[in-house]
Amino acid sequence: MTTPPPSLAVELGGLTLKSPILVASGTFGAGREGSAFVDLSKLGGIIVKSMTLVPWKGKAPPRMCETPSGMLNAIGIQNKGIDHFLSDDLPWLLKKDATVFASIAGNTVEEFVKVADKLRTGGRGIAAVEVNISCPNLEDKNNMFSHSEESTAAVVNAVKKSLPRVPLFPKLSPNVTSLSAIAGAALEGGADGLSLINTAMGMAIDVESRRPKLAGTTGGLSGPAIRPIAVRAIHEVHTAFPDVPLIGQGGVSDATDVLELMLAGATAVAIGTANFVNPRATFEAAAGLVDYMKRHRMADLQEVIGGVRLEDR
């Protein structure tokens, strides 16, 4: 008699996800291209590319360079705008039975609110919203919202007022002195959970031409290089706020990496840059989780969340 494969389902706040494995924003578009490689309905969810009030055309190229065990990018959130998402991408995703995490961005609190308003009126079927606060704040000398407690709380609070009934996951930047303080500000602003981490800021210079390798000078570092930063960040925030559901991300490539972030405290884990390398990374990681559960005779993935053993140290 064969036993059925163990369930990968997890509870993320009030949401039941089919699997803890998500795709990270900006690494799978709105699913169309990636659907050639993976069945979107089998994912825990797809966090779509961030959307803004009007289309953003993005930064000039070059936008990417490879770095040791990772890459730097400065895309500038090229996207077709929230209206296009609501009219084209969302109906398609829902037809594919995908669990949709909308990701919203803006340069002012007002822009965030306007995007959120459009989601409230036209975004039926969305499971949750990731708030991409790693955007320059035009009202604060272009500092990222996510780099200040005040800006973080202001955006989250305003978006929550617009979308009171949709779970909000602000996506935090690791480029701060005290992540717990920013996390606390996001929660006070009304966040239902937190998503961490966004890319680590970096820069690379071509020594022959003496120019930055990215047209945007600096960019976000992603890939396996940043995974230890993500593990630390998740552990820190989970320790400070053990009841807050966390979406972990940062350099995750396979099932082992997913489990590492879950042990640090993440309930769901998004795979990002690894999708570029291997479009089937999420599918293969899910198979690896099943294998792990069988080897460890586990019935429920919930027990690994925050399960890192520290007491022997």
Binding site: E33, G58, P61, R63, M64, S69, M71, T273, F276, N278
Partner: protein
């Protein structure tokens, strides 16, 4: 996504490596101008795949078709590939991208290639000749050793012109120095080009001036190769906005080379010389008489009109 097996590794001239890879699914489907995205190293140090246009295809009945790629060693990725020998496994994604559109009626086609960039033009030349088109070739490089496969360039063409900047083979100078006279002599009706950006820019300019359709294949740095990462973008001119409220959104479209290209209408690309600060590009594009290539943005290359209609 598939695993291929290296059938052979050889060198063209002093600089260029060639890998022939058994990849039946890709070999059966691939069209000239399309590319494959290859993992260049195991493990997690060099994670980003490298794109290579397909240089040649040998179809062998659907079970052992091969594709051939050519490259020169430019960094750790191509260094890795240069050490692969027979039976090595290669992790390939492809065929990817939109290839060259072939003329819908018989036409005189001029293929202009620079350096290693000429690679996809050899596959294209074979396909064009199979369909009965006339093929002429201009092949250029800095010096003899950097010309890709002169012998085949001569074999596939009615007229073949060679240029080198140092005069070590053919005419001394650049491909664009002899482009106009070659076009006139060959009664060229469509141009296909691949090579460095400054060359593509110059070729496109001449083609647009003479109202000859120009398709260029670009080779950009890519993160994913299948349309999600938005890193391999080329700035294209959009048609001038119909409404008066023209923000910067209205004039430039960053098109993904991997899915919207890598073949573009050369007259529509805003080449490197123009991509300075955005304001400069805006200023250049703002006048009402903006030169918008032969086709609107929405025209995919496969709807390329037959030349001379």
């Amino acid at each position: 996504m598939s695993m291929g097996e290296v059938l052979s590794h050889k060198k063209y001239g002093e600089h260029y490596h060639s890998l022939t890879i058994v990849a039946p699914e890709i070999g059966e489907k691939v069209k000239p101008g399309q590319f494959v995205n290859i993992r260049c190293g195991a493990g997690r140090s060099n994670i980003i795949r490298r794109p290579f246009s397909v240089f040649r295809v040998h179809k062998r009945g659907g079970w052992a078709s091969t594709i051939e790629i050519v490259f020169d060693v430019q960094g750790p990725g191509t260094e890795y590939l240069s050490h692969l020998r027979g039976h090595a496994s290669v992790d390939l994604l492809g065929p990817l991208g939109r290839g060259f559109a072939l003329p819908k009626r018989r036409a005189h086609c001029l293929l202009v290639g620079g350096g290693i960039g000429a690679a996809p033009l050899f596959f294209l030349a074979d396909e064009l000749r199979n369909e009965g088109h006339r093929v002429d070739v201009i092949l250029g490089a800095r010096s003899t050793g950097l010309l890709l496969n002169q012998i085949d360039a001569r074999r596939v063409s009615s007229i073949c012109r060679i240029t080198t900047e140092d005069g070590s083979a053919g005419d001394t100078g650049r491909v664009t120095d002899i482009l106009v006279e070659t076009m006139e002599k060959c009664e060229t009706e469509v141009i296909y080009s691949c090579g460095p950006h400054p060359m593509l820019e110059a070729v496109s300019e001449i083609a647009v001036e003479r109202k000859i359709p120009i398709q260029v294949a670009v080779e950009e740095l890519m993160g994913c190769g299948y349309g999600v990462c938005m890193t391999c973008v080329m700035p294209l001119r959009k048609a001038p906005p119909k409404s008066s409220k023209s923000g910067d959104e209205d004039l430039i479209h960053y098109a993904r080379s991997c899915t919207e290209g890598p073949v573009f209408n050369g007259g529509q690309v805003i080449w490197d010389g123009a991509t300075g600060p955005l304001e400069a590009v805006q200023a250049e594009l703002a006048p009402a008489g903006v030169a918008v290539g032969q086709h609107g943005l929405e025209d995919p290359p496969d709807e390329h009109p037959p030349p001379g209609n």
